[in-house]
């Protein structure tokens, strides 16, 4: 048992650092570090750079163009990206629908979809949630009725992140009769977003941002060969991916980097006659979060180590979601507290390139509360923390 990197792993670390230094666009890095929104173009540009390097698909098997990295390599890559400001890839294509396609899709679907996902030629979004089906995903009501070679889709999906940019959406739809059991009535369908009968309407969140959407389907006709696997198995497919998703969702590397930045920030932030870091209570709060994150890092490493010895990530991985998001939100709160009065002004426009007024507040202070507000989502999405708690209660504790 040891926590040191091997010589090969150290070489790999250097390779990643060099790559990031040379290839990561500076503006993209700056925005990522500051939690400013990237444009669609900036996201795609970065993903294409990763693809060129062969590093776009860190979790795909080699045969489909994945990296084939060990867990330690993934750990190194995530940490170096966080330090350098390399943004996460938009997950809906590369991390969410692709594994479902290469695991449950047919050959034709693999050929048709995977290359464009790998090369970031298409933008995907996720159609799971509905107004009546939040935590209870099995309650979806969007229907897909077979009509010859096509499905006719009607219904509304919601919380569709970055759906305004999307070329394709993967959906859970109800193919069985309303009376059928949920588990047997839900199918997994890929739908082209350019269909004129699809309407995307923005949802503005409390941070003033347009990030999520409602997607309305009105008699949308979808070729039947866009169905993944078997009719009525969609719920099964979706669930398989959920435990895998929970590891990345801890966002340990990013939280680590944010704490490093926060400590740099408070080391110079004025607090009357002192610096903010001289405030023992505040320093103790930072330390507590830092310590909890250290623990979480090793909880994640223990989980990954189990995976690399062939065990599937168990329901314990729900811990990563729960604690990871608690830490994200605790860090957000520390940034707000550090910003003090300058957490209050709502001036997101001052970070746009075309702003030419005087800067309001030091550095990114005014962004702190917006990030705090936005990240309330992290304990709600991806299976709310309450749902994760129920999973542990049932599947791990046997309650």
């Amino acid at each position: 048992m040891n926590s040191n990197f091997t010589a090969e792993e150290k070489d790999f670390q250097q390779e990643v650092q060099q790559f990031l230094q040379e290839k990561l666009p500076k503006e993209t890095a700056r925005k990522t570090k500051s939690a400013l929104h990237l444009s669609k173009e900036e996201c795609v540009e970065w993903q294409k750079i990763l693809h060129k390097q062969g590093w776009a698909a860190t979790n795909w098997p080699l045969e489909h163009g994945g990296t084939g990295w060990t867990q330690t390599q993934k750990y190194i890559f995530a940490n170096e990206c966080a330090k350098a400001g390399g943004p996460d890839v938009i997950p809906f294509g590369l991390k969410m629908v692709a594994p479902i396609i290469y695991t449950f899709g047919n050959e034709e679907q693999k050929q048709r979809f995977l290359p464009d996902i790998l090369a970031s030629n298409v933008w995907w979004c996720q159609g799971y949630s509905e107004t009546g089906a939040g935590s209870d995903l099995a309650g979806v009501r969007t229907t897909a009725v077979k009509d010859g070679d096509e499905y006719v889709v009607n219904g509304t999906k919601t919380w569709t992140t970055l759906g305004q940019h999307a070329d394709w959406i993967f959906c859970l739809v109800r193919t069985g009769p309303p009376s059928a059991k949920n588990q047997e009535a839900i199918s997994f369908l890929l739908i082209n977003m350019h269909d004129p009968k699809i309407k995307v309407s923005p949802i503005i969140t409390i941070d003033g941002r347009h990030e999520v959407n409602e997607v309305h389907f009105d008699e949308v006709r979808v070729p039947a060969n866009n169905l993944i696997g078997t009719e009525g198995q969609g719920w099964t497919y979706a669930k398989v991916l959920l435990t895998h998703e929970r590891t990345g969702i801890a966002r340990v590397a990013i939280s680590k980097d944010r704490l490093v930045q926060l400590k740099e920030l408070v080391a110079t932030s004025p607090n009357g006659e002192d610096k903010l870091m001289d405030d023992v209570i505040f320093a103790q709060k930072i330390a507590n979060v830092e310590i909890d994150l250290l623990a979480l890092e090793y909880t994640e490493l223990r989980t990954l180590s189990a995976i690399s010895t062939g065990q599937a990530p168990g329901p314990e991985s729900s811990i990563l979601k729960i604690v990871g998001t608690q830490i994200i939100q605790a860090i957000d709160e520390l940034y707000v507290e550090a910003a003090g009065y300058y957490s209050m002004p709502f001036v997101p426009y001052q970070f746009y390139d075309d702003y030419d007024g005087a800067q309001i507040g030091p550095d990114m202070a005014t962004n702190s509360s917006l990030r705090y507000f936005n990240n309330r989502k992290t304990s709600i999405y991806g299976g709310s923390n309450e749902i994760q708690t129920n999973i542990i209660s049932k599947a791990v504790l046997g309650l």
């Binding site: 935590s135 309650g139 300058y342 709502f346 999405y381």
Partner: protein
């Protein structure tokens, strides 16, 4: 000890409550936020007509001699509607300073106009380096040709963008952190040497960053060099006001969450039937009740002590800050995604409960001040 409201107190509470219920619903508020000023002059006129703007002023000054308990009653109702009109900035802070420190001429010049709703004011005290230290003042007033002129910068001045007249805390002697050497000046906000960068805060309240460049004053308010006690006093009163506002806001946040939990269904039952959520909503209730209690404690103690009790006030700000944090966060979490949208009120309450925690001193800062007194 007597905890019952007098008939006058019930009357003003009812009057503000009715206004919020009938004339300040969420859509109306949204329209006010979207207007050019960001608050409603029409409402302000109503406040004046109904005498609310007279509340904190003594009868000699033409006011109602309202107590801190009275102020808390009004602000608690304002909190239920998230009222954004600049009551705290103009009436409690700037008006309060004139009443507290001004000479008769200044009182005559400003207080009647404030009470009539004809004058907007703001108090500029915080600076980018000062954080919550009220004695940390760099912005300076120097005499040129026998008259003071002000040079320096002030941060996040509430109502600073709409104020006609500013009260500015400036250093007239000593070093940046000295408690002695701070003075208050009245300043014409529209003077050419005053640069104001206005914005809305995340909670919808208007504010501005303001800089002064050899700006002439409209006069010294109070005595030279020894303004700090008055500043402390007035910030404490404003702090009590936002504490009361938070108590009202928490009540609505809790009510909305209960309503939602009783109707929203998941897994075939209302989410309010899940015991884990029930216990958390009970916890929210307890936090609100404890906040309400300590608000009362602070208001009563300030009233017993001539309007000023720093220890009691800091206890209240600390405890209410903690409650506001929990109630705000849990309201969103129990609502789920819908709680994060701009279109319903709970997210806006959450934002106001957030800024209140960091306005006039954070929760921890007030805990420490309590411990030190």
């Amino acid at each position: 000890m007597d905890f019952s409201l007098s008939s006058e107190q019930k009357m003003i509470q009812d009057s503000v409550s009715r206004f919020v219920l009938n004339d300040y619903d969420f859509d109306t508020r949204r329209k006010i936020l979207g207007s050019t000023t960001g608050y409603s002059q029409e409402n302000w006129n109503v406040f004046a007509e109904l005498g609310w703007l007279m509340l904190p002023f003594s009868e000699e000054d033409g006011g109602l001699s309202g107590s801190m308990v009275d102020l808390a009653l009004v602000m608690e109702e304002f909190g239920k509607g998230m009222v954004v009109e600049p009551f705290i900035a103009t009436t409690v802070m700037a008006g309060g300073l004139v009443a507290l420190a001004g000479n008769q001429q200044q009182k005559d010049d400003y207080l009647p106009k404030i009470m009539a709703g004809e004058l907007q004011m703001a108090f500029a005290y915080a600076e980018s380096q000062s954080r919550y230290n009220l004695n940390n003042v760099k912005c300076s007033a120097n005499k040129i040709d026998g008259e003071f002129v002000i040079t320096g910068q002030k941060s996040v001045v509430l109502n600073g963008n709409h104020a006609d007249t500013l009260i500015v805390a400036a250093r007239t002697s000593g070093d940046t952190n000295d408690t002695h050497g701070i003075s208050l000046f009245l300043v014409d906000a529209k003077h050419a040497s005053v640069t104001r960068q206005g914005y809305a805060n995340v909670d919808g309240h208007q504010a501005a960053d303001i800089s002064f460049d050899n700006t002439p004053t409209l006069g010294l308010l109070g005595e030279l060099d020894i303004a700090l006690p008055a500043i402390n006093n007035i910030i404490d009163r404003a702090t009590l006001a936002i504490c009361a506002e938070a108590v009202g806001a928490m009540q609505i946040a809790h009510e909305r969450t209960l309503e939602y939990a009783k109707t929203r269904k998941q897994f075939g039952r209302t989410i309010g039937s899940f015991q884990a959520l029930q216990h958390r909503m009970v916890n929210m209730f307890i936090e609100h009740q404890q906040a309400k209690s300590i608000l009362l404690m602070a208001a009563l103690k300030m009233d017993s002590n001539n309007g000023s009790d720093a220890k009691a006030l800091s206890a209240a700000k600390s405890r209410i800050g903690k409650a506001a944090s929990l109630v705000g966060r849990e309201s969103i979490q129990i609502h789920g995604g819908i709680g994060m949208t701009d279109e319903i009120d709970v997210g806006h309450i959450f934002k106001r409960l957030t800024t209140i925690q960091f306005l006039f001193g954070s929760t921890d800062v007030h805990t420490r001040r309590f411990a030190s007194l």
